[in-house]
Symmetry: C2
Subunit: 282 residues, 2 copies
């Protein structure tokens, strides 16, 4: 492996390069970002060694790390252009539409559908960190459709990065992620909105907001440029997740209306177990 090209030099693309450069300093990283400032920053920060709009012909791996709704077109175009030895991996948060888009592409076997479960509420190359992906899960969808040789190359990379590989259907991926990732972003954004709607005086917000509020509302700082497209790409699952969430909140509200605090306490007690489940995952 000599050359990797990254399209989209933000938090994920940047962190990927920074981490891999530490382990494999011999690899040359080229890259492109639609925002010239990001590309410039990525070069200055040592994320890429050279900025260029097209990957060199002898590029081993092309990483697509742009917003979810741009990946379909970009992936098709990229597959159209590459030679027979190049692998394309995407880092998108949604997989079903994307896999469908290239299902019949003659070079489908040169594509690996990936999703690193990592991120922060910050974005752009300056937010990139060499340890962001360390010990994190890397989900691979439809692995059986990727060429064996090229797949081996991907495993080599993600194992070198200390990532935990998981395999699932694209449909299953999107359905689960709607609940354990995308929904929590919406719940956080709407919590932020609700408090902003209500509070006339900004000072009183942060004065009385404890660490609990800060933790719950943290994701409301996330990038709209990344998250609006995820809502678009995962529309049907998001609608299901949001409807169930709204229904659960409404039932909770009904219990308060009915003064059923014992019922509330019992329900909260059942939910407490999510703590044990998450702690196990550490």
């Amino acid at each position: 492996m000599k050359k990797i090209h990254i399209i989209g030099l933000g938090l994920l693309g940047g962190s990927f390069a920074l981490a891999l450069k530490k382990i494999k300093p011999e690899i040359k990283f080229t890259g492109f970002d639609a925002d010239p400032k990001n590309q410039e920053d990525a070069l200055a920060l040592g994320i890429i060694d050279e900025g260029k709009s097209q990957p060199d012909e002898d590029t081993d791996v092309i990483i697509l790390a742009t917003p979810a709704n741009t990946l379909g077109g970009l992936l098709t175009k990229t597959l159209d252009q590459i030679g027979p030895n190049t692998l394309v991996i995407d880092f998108g948060s949604t997989k079903e539409n994307l896999c469908k888009t290239v299902a019949d592409h003659p070079k489908r076997a040169q594509y690996l559908a990936g999703h690193p479960i990592a991120g922060t509420e910050y974005s752009g190359p300056k937010a990139a960190k060499a340890d962001l992906l360390d010990q994190k899960v890397f989900i691979i969808c439809e692995m059986e459709l990727t060429d064996v040789q090229l797949k081996g190359l991907a495993y080599e990379i993600f194992e070198a990065l200390n990532m935990k590989l998981r395999f699932m259907d694209a449909e299953e991926h999107d359905r689960h992620l709607a609940f354990v990732s995308h929904l929590s972003h919406v719940s956080s954004f709407m919590l932020g909105k609700t408090v902003l709607d209500k509070m006339e005086d900004e000072k009183s917000i942060f004065d009385m907001a404890g660490s609990g509020f800060a933790s719950t509302v943290r994701l409301a700082k996330s990038s709209p440029a990344m998250w609006a497209p995820i809502m678009e790409e995962n529309k049907n699952n998001m609608l299901k997740a949001l409807s169930l969430y709204i229904s659960n909140l409404s039932k909770f509200r009904d219990k308060i209306i009915e003064d059923d605090y014992e019922g509330l306490a019992l329900e909260m007690q059942k939910i407490n177990k999510i703590g044990d489940i998450l702690d196990l995952g550490k």
Copy 2:
């Protein structure tokens, strides 16, 4: 100040004692917890020097740190019993009902309505930490109704603890806290419930849950014994906060249904500013 008695030896009562003991080791702490195991643990952990169901007559300050719905009765009973030089302070998360309950009590001036904005998702004396209250906000309601001399004693304590004093109406307190604290607990609990409802296989939850989900769902580990009573005590404000939250979520869902992703992105951008507001508060 020679003697402080704490009723309710959990996270808050325990952390208060541990912190104050470091600064004023000459004070003797007595205390009581309805759960004998908690009282035993508090003694073993050095939170109190002696467990007893009634404060000594020469106790300077009595701290009430029990669940919100028990405070009304406990405060009335405590005021009934104390001599003229004792100050009673409560640490409850709701203030309006409580202040109304003792509004006409002949010893109202010996009560200070307080609320330390501090906590974790854990509870009980073992969760207590000497630095929990450090640099945190301590809200005092209806300060004008507390005796000047006794109020001075309270200031002495909370300033020694490095806490930032804030003053407001009891009604205003409950209204604001519903939004910046109580609502985020409900949003977190219901997020946990929604994911648990949906996920058949527990392993897949934590495998795919990133740090964002963990942060948003953290408060779902909170104690139902503490939080159900807060819902009860702050019923009307909680209903308003929850209704606004549900309405905002429903409008967000409508925008997805209408494929208005530009509208979603614009809205999220406006909400992003909550990050700056919270960062300012640090």
